[in-house]
């Protein structure tokens, strides 16, 4: 039993403790309390269902940030048959907040990248609490380019509160690194599967979050700004983050409804950290499904498809303009042919 229960789980934890106590008492005194225990067990199951089927956005964020939430490396070790980790951006240093390498998925080679949080304070310091510097994003890009070269799919695991907000990160071009990654991922000539497992913190998540299929765990979130940051801007009061969380529509069900993610994965009873193995199995199946769906698409079409997916995102209205207001002269030479503008796909291209 975890002692890291969240506030809203308290009634459930108390009930579970009573069941444990009753079991112990029965055993010690040699009394059969199985009927009473069964009643309480049923009550606990109902309560658990009630709590986890009615989570508020803020409660989901608490789960996404849970210290016991499985990390990228834990999932990777459970999902892939073999994982060989690579290091460094070849330019500055190895960023522990980003991990990556190659792995085998049922005999199929894939490149894996992800943001990595620590399990304890010592690990978190080494991992910078999972907040990447520019060199981390450059390492991820290096490995993704390598995947493109060797024609293997990329699986990206996202769980990051945000890109690291520090002086050195700015000096080394945090904004440029993120921009470069997003632009490159939009055109990379290989399949990209993105799995948002916990926190999807704004640009720092998007920098490894552009792909052909976006999978999100039920209690993960993906947001333009942290609810705390949003509350600080709106009301100069970061403690009103719960209200901001409602307004930002950042949960997996919300984003699925908005058409911004492709698939939501249900979490085991009591969330992913209660049964990491079952969660990993579901993620593995979703990844395999995704790669299978996409692997038949010729690379050119895959890149066009990825562009079209991004291209249609946005909500706006169109003002009616009367025909006489139309600036005809502006049309100019807009009818020039569109010549190929796709990346160089020479050499061992697997398209037909």
């Amino acid at each position: 039993m975890t002692n890291l229960g969240l506030e809203f789980e308290k009634p459930l934890i108390e009930l579970e403790k009573r069941i444990e106590d009753l079991k112990e008492f029965g055993l010690k005194k040699g009394i059969d309390l199985s009927d009473e225990i069964a009643i309480l067990q049923r009550k606990a199951d109902t309560l658990r269902k009630e709590i986890f089927e009615n989570l508020t956005p803020w409660q989901r964020i608490m789960i996404a940030r849970h210290p016991k939430r499985p990390t990228a490396l834990e999932y990777i070790n459970l999902i892939f048959d073999e994982f060989i980790e690579f290091h460094g951006d070849r330019e500055f240093r190895d960023d522990g907040a980003i991990i990556g390498g190659i792995a085998s998925l049922g005999g199929r080679p894939v490149t894996v990248i992800g943001t990595q949080k620590g399990r304890d304070t010592k690990e978190n310091i080494a991992r910078n609490f999972g907040m990447p510097h520019p060199e981390g994003y450059r390492k991820a890009l290096r490995l993704m380019k390598q995947a493109e070269k060797f024609r293997r799919p990329i699986v990206s695991f996202v769980d990051v509160v945000g890109a690291y907000p520090g002086v050195e990160a700015e000096e080394r071009g945090q904004g440029l690194a993120i921009a470069r990654n997003i632009a490159e991922m939009a055109r990379l000539a290989t399949t990209i599967i993105v799995v948002i497992t916990g926190e999807g913190g704004s640009g720092g998540a998007l920098a490894i979050g552009v792909g052909d299929k976006l999978i999100m765990l039920e209690n993960a979130y993906f947001s333009v700004i942290s609810p705390e940051g949003c509350a600080a801007i709106l009301w100069k009061d970061g403690s009103r983050a719960q209200e901001a969380a409602e307004m930002l529509k950042l949960t997996a069900p919300d984003l699925k409804a908005q058409g911004l993610i492709d698939e939501m994965l249900h979490e085991p009873q009591g969330a992913a950290h209660k049964d990491g193995i079952a969660m990993a199995r579901a993620i593995r199946e979703a990844i395999i499904r995704g790669i299978d769906e996409l692997s038949g698409i010729p690379l050119r079409r895959l890149i066009e498809r990825r562009y079209a997916r991004l291209r249609r995102i946005g909500e706006f209205a169109i003002r009616e303009i009367s025909a006489s207001d139309l600036p005809m002269a502006a049309a100019g030479n807009e009818d020039m042919p569109i010549t190929p503008d796709l990346p160089d796909l020479e050499g061992g291209c697997d398209e037909t």
């Binding site: 002086v167 945090q174 904004g175 921009a179 908005q258 209205a317």
Partner: protein
């Protein structure tokens, strides 16, 4: 920052009064105070001087229309996509009121104007962001206009210049706004594939989502002097590292020193510099026949 006052002493055009002596007593509307040297400036003079402090050369923020006027050849501009209007996709409390107020205050429909024009006779597609419209934050309309501009540039093979200014993503549009970073960056990458020039000009301030997308993806990145350019907001960094930030942090000069931009160009030389760059990239003057 060295004291530049002495350098300008000889050609001082304006009567300047130190901030400490006059404070906030400058009459509303006619005068304004320099954000750098504290000098009081006559607004009319400021406008005719490209929005520069005559005393210290401080670059005041320009509206999109002012920027267009000092950048493009006279009467060369034809606007694109002005029919795109902001909506409130999340039903975010207060957002519609905020947008309406910005429209009233600026006379604009959104935080960017895009279109076609020329600089020194060279045809160019251009975007002008306006910080006074909700901090020139990027929502769906800004993202769509920038994307369409890049796509047009790719089709027409005409160079594109975007004068960036932005506080970041438009949080009131939630993930629709964050994904505009991906959309504009994808369009930018596509444009790059057609070997068409894109120049990004970072003006004060260009931060967060715009800096971390099309703002940083120019073939050539220019910044105006003293502009705030960077990814993370300074208050957030200070709260994280629990230290005061060094002076000059996240300025254009800082970005240049750290290799993040190509050059700093004074507003007085911007048109000339852009003209030269367009010429060197095979630009052909429209009036050349």
């Amino acid at each position: 920052m060295p004291n530049l006052k002495g350098i300008f002493q000889g050609k001082q055009k304006f009567v300047t009064v130190k901030a400490g002596t006059v404070r906030e007593e400058a009459p509303e509307g006619l005068w304004t105070k320099c954000g750098q040297c504290g000098g009081i400036l006559y607004k009319k003079e400021l406008t005719s001087n490209l929005g520069l402090c005559g005393d210290c050369g401080f670059h005041f923020r320009l509206s999109a229309r002012e920027r267009m006027a000092i950048t493009l050849d006279e009467d060369s501009f034809v606007e694109y996509d002005e029919e795109l209007l902001t909506v409130d996709p999340l039903g975010f409390p207060g957002y519609d009121i905020k947008v309406e107020a910005a429209k009233q205050a600026t006379g604009l429909d959104e935080a960017i104007i895009t279109g076609k024009g020329s600089i020194d006779g060279y045809p160019v597609l251009a975007g002008f962001m306006d910080f006074s419209f909700v901090g020139a934050s990027m929502g769906s309309v800004v993202g769509e206009k920038v994307t369409r501009l890049f796509e047009r540039a790719a089709r027409q093979r005409v160079p594109v210049i975007v004068f960036c200014a932005s506080g970041g993503a438009r949080m009131q549009e939630g993930m629709f706004s964050l994904m505009q970073m991906a959309k504009t960056a994808a369009a930018c990458a596509k444009l790059s594939g057609t070997r068409t020039l894109y120049i990004s000009v970072l003006t004060n301030p260009t931060t967060a989502g715009v800096f971390a997308s099309f703002g940083s993806l120019g073939d050539i990145i220019i910044a105006e002097p003293g502009a705030l350019v960077g990814f993370t907001g300074q208050r957030v960094i200070e709260e994280t590292i629990r230290q005061k930030l060094p002076p000059g942090f996240q300025t254009s000069e800082f970005a240049l020193e750290h290799g993040l931009i190509d050059m700093i160009v004074d507003r007085r030389n911007m048109r000339k510099t852009l003209g030269s760059l367009l010429s060197l990239h095979g630009g052909r003057r429209e009036d050349a026949g």
